[in-house]
């Protein structure tokens, strides 16, 4: 069992491996293999220290959140109010951002590493119970994690008095029901509570104060937590020795699209560039058929697109942001010169329009409107007025300047994604991002697709 028909394989290279070290083994997901390869040693080390001490270790390592926002885990854990019990850890395994399939491999191939990470987080942040939310469609991941959890319970790594200590934590599994927006942490909490998965209103910006069942709650991504066992065994110093000061360690990147070797890679944070990733021998080895690279999405379907001009940017938020996009969920989608750009934009926008939870007007109505105009254009039934209309609808979702590959030229330093939005969460802006990028970067391809038509001006009266 070396490869999975359903999942592009993981490709190891000659690089430091923090979270993927066990992927080389066929039985990487078993407790036996896990224990044979240093499993649960991080937890053991943690339990030998005070929670504050462990928390400090994680803070010192600056483990950036891998779910999308890139917020340091150690800092997030410190946001919970003191003295409010119980408090929870919620693990975000709902991975469904287009192009992203790294958490799935972590759950399928090394479930014990995730479980150990959860336990370390609970210990360090003083969390009394853990809920592991796994995307509904990920049958293998669900099975592997469930089996691993049973093994871990039986072996005394989870439950009461873990490894003979006074530390006790239960882990509860929960399967999603197939809604993208439930990856958003507050929607995930709603879903976990048994409600319709719709994002909560902000503020509060973090569920740390008021989260699951109104209690302090830490939501962390699967990969974020999977870093912890290695970190506890090797220490923050070794962790920060990898990568850069602001982006230490490694991160998993899922590459899809027109490259020779799509797959998930563990790259070095902050230093590996997009060129390394797409053209490097140990990574994707170039564009398929040695075609021209036309554009790529650097951080999941929501991210504004980059062109070959941005290839030399490293995986470093402080550089990718001002360049007009984001690292997001760690997914790179590659389009070569044969790509039908309007159709590519439609594919992404259709996804977000469909996944809108329907809560707010701009996303519910605007997303679908964008999709319908785009599909008209793709079908050759659009007019030139439709192109401005796309931007007009976008303006109602995200007013003002929308980040794109050349927004640095507009003098917007460190543009956060998106600069402004009229919606409650990022799904609305995400529906617009592909449209905006495609239209800004490749307007001529749209113009070639539409017929010219003069709009009859409407004045004074409602037609």
């Amino acid at each position: 069992m070396t490869s999975y028909a359903h999942a592009p394989g993981f490709i190891a290279g000659d690089r430091p491996q923090i979270v993927t070290s066990r992927f080389q083994y066929d039985d990487s997901f078993t407790l036996e293999r896990y224990l044979a390869t240093g499993g649960y040693q991080g937890l053991k080390k943690a339990l030998g220290r005070t929670p504050t001490d462990v928390h400090d270790e994680v803070k010192n390592a600056t483990v950036l959140g891998r779910g999308g926002a890139g917020f340091p885990a150690g800092t997030k854990w410190g946001l919970t109010p003191q003295g409010k019990w119980p408090r929870y850890l919620v693990v975000n395994g709902d991975e469904s951002e287009p192009g992203t399939y790294k958490d799935r491999l972590l759950m399928e191939r090394d479930p014990h590493q995730l479980i150990e990470g959860c336990l370390i987080a609970c210990y360090a942040a003083g969390l009394s119970q853990c809920f592991l939310y796994i995307r509904g469609e990920m049958a293998v991941a669900q099975e592997r994690v469930a089996t691993a959890l049973n093994e871990a319970y039986a072996a005394g790594y989870v439950g009461k008095n873990i490894m003979g200590s006074r530390f006790s934590v239960d882990i509860v599994l929960h399967w999603g029901a197939g809604a993208y927006v439930v990856g958003e942490e507050t929607a995930l909490i709603e879903s976990l509570e048994g409600n319709r998965g719709m994002p909560r209103l902000k503020p509060p910006y973090f569920p740390a104060a008021i989260g699951l069942y109104g209690q302090p709650t830490i939501v962390n991504n699967v990969e974020t937590l999977a870093n912890l066992p290695w970190l506890l065994v090797n220490g923050a110093e070794k962790y920060t020795a990898i990568g850069t000061k602001t982006s230490p360690g490694t991160r998993m990147v899922a590459v899809s699209g027109h490259v020779k070797r799509p797959g998930v890679y563990e790259i070095i944070n902050g230093t590996t560039t997009f060129r390394d990733l797409l053209y490097g021998d140990e990574f994707c080895q170039g564009i398929r058929n040695d075609n021209q690279l036309k554009a790529f999405v650097p951080g999941g379907g929501s991210a504004p697109w980059f062109t070959p001009e941005q290839l030399d940017l490293p995986f470093e938020a402080s550089q990718v942001g001002p360049a007009g996009s984001m690292l997001g969920s760690g997914a790179v989608m590659v389009m070569d010169h044969t790509t039908d750009i309007p159709r590519a934009a439609l594919t992404l926008t259709r996804f977000y329009a469909h996944e809108s939870c329907g809560k707010c007007t701009p996303c519910r109505e605007g997303g679908t409107w964008l999709e319908r105009i785009l599909s008209r254009i793709v079908d050759g039934k659009g007019t030139d007025a439709d192109l401005d209309q796309l931007l007009e609808v976008g303006e109602s979702i995200c007013p003002g300047v929308f980040p794109h590959a050349s927004s640095s030229e507009l003098g917007l330093s460190a543009v956060p994604f998106p600069y402004r939005m009229n919606t409650i969460c990022f799904v609305g802006p995400s529906a617009y991002a592909p449209v905006h990028s495609a239209l800004t970067l490749f307007r001529s391809e749209f113009e070639a697709r539409v017929t010219k038509r003069t709009r009859i001006p409407v004045s004074g009266s409602v037609s």
């Binding site: 329009a353 329907g358 109505e365 409107w369 007009e392 009229n422």
Partner: protein
């Protein structure tokens, strides 16, 4: 709601006194606001209207429609925020008028209209539609949406009363939020996702909420419509006046709306001390009864057992003759007057004046289904005081069934954690799930229950935390009211600082009693009648055969009285026993004032002409008095009011200008000092195999208002006897089967059902249900009533 002056001019001499006061700038003008207030509310006061759909001041904000975007100055320049979610902060700079804001408002409106069907010409909301109005005031003026719009089957019924048109819905979450947050009946919800998101009920579970009509009122489009008003009028044809609902004694403020002299709609008015704009469906929709074909239009005189129509002067002369002959033959004591609780204060006062002039004290506005009026002698609480008390003690009826909007106010108090509810009841109520403590007890055991619960350590400490209000009413028609009064006395002894909110149910019962209609007791009057001591009984909107708990006594009394005069809007079972029936003006057809359960006197307004030749009750009293050579000294409803407020001590603080100046009403004066507790009656033992009877009301019953409102009539659940599931098992009868209920006097056959909210050892029967005969099992002179059940 308070609306204070908002444009604060900077006055150096005025030191800031209020720590919660903040000043913000809206479009360059300074606006005084309070910490925690939302920008949209502050802007409403400063006259800077911000368009909105989902925001409703009586519900928590959800920020869903995104229509209310404004710009707030932030560290990175102006930020677009939703003003219904963003609280004010001192020094905040808000702009609602920049090109960016205008663009955002137009953009959101364009999106909302994109899939909107624009049914305006045939839509009930057209003309008073927030979407239509704001599309006009803040919209883009043209639509660029050329795709096909969303289609759904339209409309679909979501309950017996309400229909939903999903094409018109703009998904503002007002109805769904109301159902969940205000009514506590989360029976409608969003389903599906993206562009197909829609409001729906759960499969096979209709939106059967007592409060469903509110969703129709607050829906900002014509997506929700209610059967009684659908397609009846265009909003611009409606004329409206403000009035007070008298269906129950909460006294919700409403607008009475009509077109072409037909009542078509009542809408809730936001009265801060009372109903917060909410109404119950019974109060909202029973205007149908006013237009019912069954209304009495002409006076009727019985000749040879048949009613024949007569003109008023003939009928009144005949009535006067009956009263005179009773006075002559049996003296003043042989005349009795029952009723007055359904009309205005003026109606009740005129009749009580007539009674006094005649010299009789056989007068009662209650029909043995309330409490002695000594309950008003305790220190009185208002609804607001109850809904803000740290502890609310419930002794009595199921408020959800009897006084629905009071139920909402107390539910809110509990949900928002202002109050803890301690409930005593012979059956669980609609508030039980919100109660901090529920002590169930058998009928008659409430004094013991009060004494043991209120002395528990945790309860004692809770009672010490702040104000305590006792909400007290008649929870069980099959037990003596003395138990409740003794329980109240026991509470007052244990919590001497508590205040009392009496919750007698009938619309103007408190006004009628305060106006003098309580000098006798219905039970005694009917006993006297049954003993042949009453020659003439006047029923002023009273139907003892339907409402007096002891059916046998009511029947014997009405059979024994030779002469009955009935003044009513409908032919009731009791009026059909009368010699003379006079048609009375109904709600909406007369002016006056009414008094709610707190003693709040407010205006009642006439909107349509009286039906047929019917007249208001007070006028009939005055005319009858005339014919009896009694001068009541009044010629108009205003005269009656003025005389009432000078002669009735409770009404003394009130005058016409005060009522006019305060649409929310003016409180009665408190008269009397706390009554001395009478000894607790000894509760008889219950035989092992019998059940102690609990009889209480459901919102929908066989009463005239419901029965004559087609939209409501079918909602009455019908008569049955309910047992705890374990008791039903013990009985061995399948749920839904008929059993024989054997009371002290007779037996009746009833359907039996299981209900876990009924306490073991008791049997609950809803009162006055279509086909119900539970009155046969009640002996009003007994302290409690027991039944045995037999399978048949």
């Amino acid at each position: 709601m308070t609306s204070t002056e908002t444009n604060v001019t900077s006055d150096e001499n005025q030191p800031p006194v209020d720590p919660n006061a903040v000043t913000i700038s809206i479009n360059g003008r300074q606006v005084a606001a309070r910490k925690g207030e939302l920008i949209i509310a502050a802007a409403d006061r400063s006259g800077d209207y911000i368009p909105r759909f989902c925001y409703h001041p009586r519900m928590s904000p959800v920020g869903m429609c995104r229509q209310c975007l404004v710009e707030v100055e932030g560290p990175r320049g102006p930020m677009m925020v939703v003003s219904c979610m963003t609280p004010v902060a001192d020094g905040q700079i808000v702009r609602t008028d920049t090109p960016q804001v205008k663009r955002a408002h137009e953009g959101i409106l364009e999106l909302l209209l994109a899939n909107h069907p624009l049914d305006c010409p045939v839509c009930d909301k057209g003309g008073e539609c927030p979407l239509q109005d704001q599309a006009f005031s803040h919209g883009p003026g043209e639509s660029r949406f050329v795709e096909e719009k969303r289609h759904y089957e339209k409309p679909i019924p979501i309950s017996d009363i309400v229909l939903l048109d999903r094409e018109r819905c703009i998904l503002c979450d007002r109805c769904t939020r109301f159902a969940d947050e205000v009514a506590g009946d989360a029976l409608i919800h969003f389903t599906s996702r993206g562009n197909n998101t829609q409001v729906l009920t759960f499969p096979d579970e209709p939106f059967s909420s007592y409060f469903s009509g509110n969703t129709v009122q607050i829906c900002p489009v014509g997506a929700l419509t209610a059967k009684p008003y659908r397609f009846k009028a265009r909003p611009w044809d409606l004329e409206k006046v403000e009035s007070t609902c008298t269906t129950c004694s909460v006294g919700c403020r409403i607008t009475v709306e009509s077109s072409r002299d037909q009542l078509l709609r009542y809408q809730g008015v936001d009265s801060d001390p009372v109903n917060w704009s909410w109404l119950c469906d019974k109060g909202r929709f029973n205007f149908e009864a006013v237009a019912s074909d069954a209304r009495l239009e002409q006076p009727l005189i019985k000749r040879d057992g048949q009613f024949v129509e007569a003109d008023w002067s003939t009928a009144l002369r005949a009535a006067a003759a009956l009263v005179s002959s009773a006075l002559r033959d049996g003296g003043a004591g042989s005349v009795a007057i029952l009723g007055g609780a359904r009309g205005t204060n003026e109606d009740a006062y005129a009749w009580s004046r007539l009674a006094r002039a005649l010299g009789t004290s056989n007068v009662d506005a209650q029909l043995g289904d309330g409490l002695p009026s000594t309950v008003f002698a305790y220190p009185q609480a208002t609804i607001d005081e109850a809904a803000n008390a740290s502890t609310v003690i419930l002794l009595g009826p199921d408020l959800k069934e009897e006084l629905p909007v009071l139920h909402l106010r107390l539910r809110d108090a509990s949900e928002k954690r202002r109050s803890k509810i301690v409930e005593f009841g012979a059956k669980e109520s609609g508030l039980t799930r919100y109660a901090w403590k529920h002590t169930g007890h058998e009928p008659g055991q409430q004094v013991a229950a009060v004494r043991s619960t209120l002395t528990e350590t945790s309860v004692v400490s809770q009672l010490g935390k702040g104000s305590v209000v006792v909400v007290v009413g008649r929870g069980n028609l099959a037990e003596s009211p003395e138990f409740t009064m003794s329980a109240l006395a026991a509470v007052m002894e244990l919590v001497p600082n508590a205040k009392v909110l009496p919750v007698l149910r009938r619309g103007n019962v408190r006004g009628a009693l305060s106006a003098g209609m309580g000098s006798g007791s219905a039970a005694e009057i009917l006993e006297r009648a049954a003993a042949g001591k009453i020659n003439c009984l006047v029923l002023v909107g009273a139907d003892p055969l339907a409402d007096f708990p002891d059916a046998d006594l009511a029947r014997r009394a009405l059979t024994a009285v030779p002469n009955i005069v009935s003044l009513d809007t409908f032919m009731t079972t009791s009026s059909s026993q009368a010699q003379i029936v006079l048609p009375a003006a109904a709600f909406g057809e007369k002016d006056g004032t009414t008094t709610n359960l707190e003693g709040r006197v407010s205006q009642l307004s006439r909107k349509v002409t009286t039906r047929g030749t019917s007249r208001p009750d007070w006028m009939v009293a005055v005319e009858l008095a005339d014919l009896l050579d009694i001068d009541l000294g009044v010629g108009s409803v205003h005269d009656v009011f003025d005389q009432m407020v000078t002669t009735q001590s409770a009404f003394r603080p009130i005058d016409r200008s005060a009522i006019k100046a305060s649409p929310d009403g003016v409180l009665l004066a408190h008269v009397g000092s706390a009554p001395i507790a009478s000894p607790v009656p000894e509760v008889p033992e219950r035989a092992g195999f019998s059940y102690r009877l609990v009889v209480s009301r459901k919102l929908y019953d066989a009463g005239q208002n419901v029965a004559n409102s087609p939209s409501l009539a079918s909602l009455a659940p019908g008569s049955a006897i309910y047992l705890h599931p374990l008791d039903l098992d013990r009985l061995g009868a399948p749920a839904g089967s008929n059993v024989k209920a054997i009371g002290a006097r007779t037996s009746v056959v009833m359907r039996v059902e299981a209900d876990a909210s009924v306490h073991r050892g008791t049997a609950w029967v809803p009162w006055n249900q279509p086909g119900g005969k539970v009155g046969e099992l009640i002996d009003a002179s007994a302290l409690v009533n027991d039944v045995r059940l037999e399978n048949i």
